[in-house]
């Protein structure tokens, strides 16, 4: 019974990890519709930033900047030429992801590196270690920050305006190119932050991004494009489903169950939990 009850906080903590890796993607994929396969490598860049600094607290803002700037460069140099061509973007960013993985391998070597966990994160409450609680706290903080940005700041409102109707936003005097840049910067930066947090629980190596990219897309698609609350609910739902499915079966089967559940769900609601209503998109 304890094991069963333990799975509840475990599910929530898996959900927090999913939320954190998907948060940046709700921007680049959710808001802009860019299928960025290199998102996982921005997560990796964040993790390596933590490795270089060897300091978790310092690494959070630094990783945001590093990954954000990488995203900015990618957007300005390549992706912006492919807006409205999702398949080409997919191939392009997939290629970029391979290049970045190899770059990491050349710079840091193929073996994993170690980021020491801060001493204040050792120990825990009940089944949840402090590092899991830290990740949950970071996920909540990230969601709140993104929500405040989108609804309470001028830049955020402009972002939403561009998502809902690009042409109308442009005619109203919004520089949509700048908004795209900024959105991509923030989305990529959030991936970097996720990377720092993941060093607490997972490997830090060149292939790191590939372990999380599919889950991140799963959350955003199930939650509904451009829907923050959808992504939050989807992350928690998938986290709990994963936790209990693995508890009753095993890790391989749990993956199958989660994937099947998402596919079945998308049959019923093809656009995810929440749908953005907009004339342009319909």
């Amino acid at each position: 019974m304890t094991a069963f009850l333990n799975q509840l906080p475990i599910g929530l903590s898996i959900g927090a990890v999913l939320m954190l890796i998907a948060l940046g993607l709700t921007f680049t994929f959710g808001q802009m519709g860019v299928i960025n396969m290199a998102h996982g490598e921005f997560i990796m860049a964040g993790a390596y930033t933590a490795f270089l600094l060897q300091d978790m607290v310092l690494a959070l803002p630094a990783a945001f900047l590093v990954a954000g700037v990488m995203g900015l460069i990618l957007e300005r140099s390549a992706i912006r030429h492919f807006y409205g061509r999702p398949l080409d973007t997919l191939l392009l960013t997939w290629g970029v992801s391979l290049v970045l993985q190899q770059l990491a391998r050349d710079l840091f070597g193929a073996p994993n590196v170690q980021v020491p966990a801060p001493a204040w994160l050792s120990g825990g409450v009940g089944i949840l270690p402090y590092n899991r609680l830290f990740i949950m706290g970071l996920a909540v903080a990230g969601v709140v920050a993104v929500w405040l940005y989108l609804t309470r700041t001028g830049l955020g409102r402009r972002t939403q305006a561009v998502v809902q109707n690009r042409q109308l936003a442009a005619t109203s005097g919004i520089d949509t190119g700048r908004v795209d840049m900024l959105t991509f910067f923030i989305g990529s930066g959030l991936a970097g932050v996720a990377g720092v947090a993941l060093t607490l629980i997972g490997p830090v190596g060149p292939a790191l991004g590939t372990y999380y990219i599919v889950d991140a897309f799963l959350v955003v698609v199930a939650g509904g494009l451009g829907q923050l609350r959808g992504a939050v609910l989807a992350a928690l739902g998938l986290g709990l489903l994963n936790s209990y499915a693995e508890f009753w079966s095993d890790a391989s089967l749990a993956k199958v169950i989660v994937l099947a559940a998402v596919i079945a769900f998308l049959q019923v609601r093809p656009q995810g939990l929440f749908v953005l209503r907009s004339r342009v998109l319909t």
Binding site: Q114, P203, S252
Partner: protein, 401 residues
């Protein structure tokens, strides 16, 4: 662009000339080509790149000593990319196109199983350098890593000796862990050990909280760990944050060697036991030389591990067999190989004539706070390889599965 006829014919002539000179160098040169086929990218690169490095070192050593049969060995390096069909494809390319004398390569059993039909079909040689689950003996593969009775069974003997009889099995979801666990369960049934649980996770899995919860609830005396690659990092980090210690619940691993320890973080894994045939700290004259040469070539901060050493041995053993055979021709090398015995870093290694595996000494070690592994137990003498466990009554019937 239109290419005028004279230019076109000039290009053709150049192309033909290039082909001709290529064929000529291959035929007349004083070179023997060998293939090195490991994952240089993808999830397995973490482990396999170092094996390739060790094999390159062995080739360099042999060449510096005059080569074999008066010829220099030239490595052709290919990337298996952690993708099993790619291994088969690259193996075919090495054998058919490059016409290499032998291939040294593979790590996961899945990659070996993918390459096996290629080598059997074209009657070419593969030297496979990693411990594996046994129950295989291809006439075209030499196995320089341990088979189960040289690693897993000694590991179980050690746990039993320590009085740790209630075991939890954790492994990656593919052929090696599943077969290894079948053997472990048969051993446990015959030796009064209890298996409390058996869990598998996909390769590259990083979320271990549920599995750790299951392990902690079962309260085993020890965990037998057959996870492979990056998953080990996530597993040990999350196991430690859940409060497990090496004293209360040692995790015996068979796929974690010196170079993985750094990536896992030594504070997460120090004190846990591992089972291999070789450690960087193994005290033999050959090992002193090997560690020194490896560090000189690749950097003082590099470590040496069992699979690297097995890859390094493979090249030397093959060269020895070629010398004995007087040719690189596959059937002659196969015939010359049995009985060849060399003093290697891990001690005396002899090629077994029945199954092309090696006689190897089993060693259990404990991971130290400095990241190296200290031996605490060994089998005394090299153990005869027994991939089908024919010498173990309790294992009857396993081979058929």
């Amino acid at each position: 662009m239109r290419i005028s006829r004279p230019i076109l014919s000039a290009l053709l002539v150049m192309a033909l000339a290039a082909c001709g000179s290529d064929a000529e160098t291959a035929a007349s040169s004083n070179e023997i080509k060998v293939g090195l086929l490991h994952s240089l990218s993808g999830t397995m690169a973490i482990s396999e790149v170092t094996v390739r490095d060790a094999e390159l070192l062995a080739i360099e050593e042999i060449n510096n000593a005059g080569g074999v049969l008066g010829k220099k060995i030239v490595p052709v390096v290919e990337d298996g990319a952690s993708d099993w069909p790619t291994f088969a494809e690259k193996a075919t390319k090495l054998v058919r196109q490059d016409k290499v004398a032998a291939v040294f390569g593979g790590w996961t059993s899945a990659s070996r199983k993918a390459m096996l039909p290629v080598f059997e079909r074209y009657k070419a040689l593969l030297w496979y350098p990693v411990q594996y689950e046994g129950l295989e003996s291809s006439p075209y593969i030499f196995y320089t890593g341990a088979t189960t009775n040289q690693q897993i069974i000694p590991g179980l003997d050690y746990l039993k000796e320590q009085g740790r009889n209630r075991i939890f099995l954790v492994g990656s979801d593919y052929v090696f862990p599943r077969t290894a666990n079948k053997i472990i369960k048969a051993y446990a049934a015959a030796n009064g050990m209890e298996i409390l649980g058996e869990e598998y996770t996909p390769l590259g899995h990083t979320e271990y909280s549920t599995l750790v919860n299951k392990v902690m609830q079962a309260e085993p005396d020890a965990v037998f760990n057959t996870l492979n690659g990056d998953s080990n990092v996530a597993f040990f980090k999350q196991l430690k944050s859940a409060g497990a210690t090496a004293e209360s619940m040692p995790v015996l691993s068979v796929s974690i060697a010196e170079e993985e320890v750094t990536g896992i973080g030594v504070e997460n894994i120090a004190g846990h036991p591992v089972a291999w045939n070789y450690y960087q700290t193994t005290e033999t004259p050959a090992n002193e030389a090997f560690v020194k040469a490896f560090k000189a070539k690749y950097g003082q901060n590099k470590v040496t591990s069992d699979p690297m050493q097995a890859g390094y041995n493979a090249v030397h053993l093959w060269a020895e067999a070629v010398k004995k055979a007087g040719t690189t021709e596959v059937e002659a090398v196969k015939k010359a190989a049995p009985g060849i015995a060399l003093d290697r870093p891990e001690g005396k290694v002899t090629i077994d004539g029945d199954n092309q595996h090696m006689y190897k000494t089993a060693r259990i070690g404990i991971i130290q706070p400095d990241g190296l592994i200290e031996q605490v137990w060994d089998s005394g003498e090299p153990i005869k390889p027994d991939p089908y466990l024919e010498g173990y009554p309790w294992a009857a019937g396993l081979a058929g599965q």
